[in-house]
Amino acid sequence: MTTLAPAVTAPKPLTLRVRRWFLRHPAAARLGVVVILFVIWEIAARFFVDPNFLSPPSRVIVSIDDVLATQGVPQALRVTFYELAVSFVLAVVLGVILGLSIGLGRFAHRSFMPIILLLYGTPQITILPIFVLLFGIGPASKIAFGVSHGVFPVTILVAAGVQNIKPIYLVSARSMGASRWHILRHVIFPHMIPSFFTSMRLAMTGVLLGVLLAELYVSTAGIGYFTSVFTQDFDPTKLIGLVSILAAMAVVLNEVVRRAELHYGRWRS
């Protein structure tokens, strides 16, 4: 019997077990990837890049306090959060009203939906300066710009949720004697709810984009003022710290709305 390739030593049981564990827990591997990225960032910032341009994560984390201690930063963050909340609520409420009005009537849907879609497709960033000229550099312009981004997905999805009802449900309800109010409340409304929660997730994405864009644009007040100052002072530590806080805010808000969507979209599956 011919021998095959030279015998390879069997892999140590420990490495095999570690590999197997990672294979069963992709989330852990993901965490590992993130950790590796942070390590690269740390090394690059410490040894390779001019400290005027990049700061290692270790220094950033330690200096978060300094960022928050900077005069005006906590207020700016609080105001930003307030703008996000108000924009979101307004966008959703307006969106539902518009969406229902357009969705409930076939003719209204045919006439106005293309207009809405057209507006949704235009790059709103071009009119950001107009918003600021109109509403000033305070929260109003940020809220308005946020609403302007968030209202469209809600309108579109709510209208779609109303329009997409399978006719059999309406026929069946009618055959059992349902009045128009019955149909609205017991058929159309519950059918529309999953679309509504999906649209809330998109509204949050839009509102985050609108409000944060507006904040960054206005460099004389709010968050934009501080990003401007930290940049001009070549202070990457504080800048990264501030941006990270905002990113964390965005992640948390997104996550809250996403959970709500999963919970209330239950019957779809």
Binding site: S172, S175, G177
Partner: protein, 284 residues
């Protein structure tokens, strides 16, 4: 002779206008009496108008000509206190549990709030779904969904039940079992049932009378009587009488089916591969 539960007189119905490509004469001069307490089957080739007739009987469609009377009253729209429907396509609301679905039907009909839940639970027991009251339709099999639909219809306590190929989407074994259950139900409750089906065996097994339709434009070609008491036993299906009736049905239908198939392939060639001859009923 007691007054018929449903009387159909000279009903014709067309979809679309004469001369339009979409025009189809679904029903032509159809007249029919459905006796109280009987189970009448409507059977015929695709597009023969049997579903259209059912919808006309139930007030969901206003016929182009002719009249329908139900329990002595002229039909002008849905009559939820006299008629309940069961459709082939599942019409349970997916966002409600089975129990909520049944209760909702009574809400639409106008049953007082205090009675709804009890009646719902009794109906679910009658169809054997009592333990599934809190399940969502998406969690049930096709057969169970149709049973839930039946429970909803039963809870409305109407004298008449109109069923449009209710078992059409189910596999044969489930169909047989549900058919037996339906027969038992009929023997217990004296409801009047009109039942549309494609299946010859199902028609003979369930019906007191079978109305055979011609190809489009549909009209009733002949009515066959099945003299067999309810509840029908499974053994009935293997009896010589059953086979004889089934063969008789097939003989009546065979030419009509061929006619319907030629017509539909002609229409397809004329209008392209789209849904050329608009389906007067939901069948393929």
């Amino acid at each position: 002779m007691s007054a018929a539960a449903i009387q159909v007189r000279d009903v014709s119905h067309q979809f679309g206008e004469e001369g339009e490509t979409r025009h189809v004469q679904a029903l032509q001069d159809t007249s029919l009496d459905v006796a109280k307490g009987e189970l009448l089957c409507l059977i015929g080739p695709s597009g023969c108008g049997k579903s259209t007739l059912l919808n006309v009987m139930g007030g969901l469609i206003a016929p182009s000509t002719g009249t329908t009377t139900v329990s002595g009253k002229p039909v002008r729209g849905p009559m939820p206190h006299d008629i309940s429907f069961i459709f082939q396509e599942n019409a349970l609301f997916p966002w409600n549990t089975v129990l909520e679905n049944v209760v909702l039907g009574m809400t639409f009909q106008g049953v007082p709030r205090s009675e709804r839940e009890d009646r719902a639970r009794r109906a679910l027991e009658a169809v054997g779904l009592a333990e599934f009251a809190q399940h969502y339709p998406g969690q049930l099999s096709g057969g169970m969904r149709q049973r839930a639909a039946l429970a909803r219809a039963l809870s409305l306590e109407t004298d008449i039940l109109l069923m449009d190929e209710p078992f059409g989407a189910l596999d044969e074994q489930t169909r047989m079992v549900l058919g037996e259950d339906l027969s038992v139900l009929l023997s217990q409750s004296r409801k009047t049932i009109v039942f549309v089906t494609h299946s010859l065996g199902e028609a003979v097994f369930l019906a007191d009378r079978v109305a055979v339709f011609s190809a489009r434009p549909g009209t009733i070609k002949q009515i066959i009587e099945v003299n067999e008491p309810h509840p029908r036993k499974p053994e009935f299906m293997t009896s010589p009488k059953f086979h004889r009736l089934r063969d008789q049905l097939y003989g009546l239908l065979h030419d009509e089916i061929r006619k319907a198939m030629t017509e539909s392939s002609q229409a397809r060639r004329r209008y392209g591969d789209k849904d050329a001859a608009p389906a007067a009923e939901g069948d393929a």
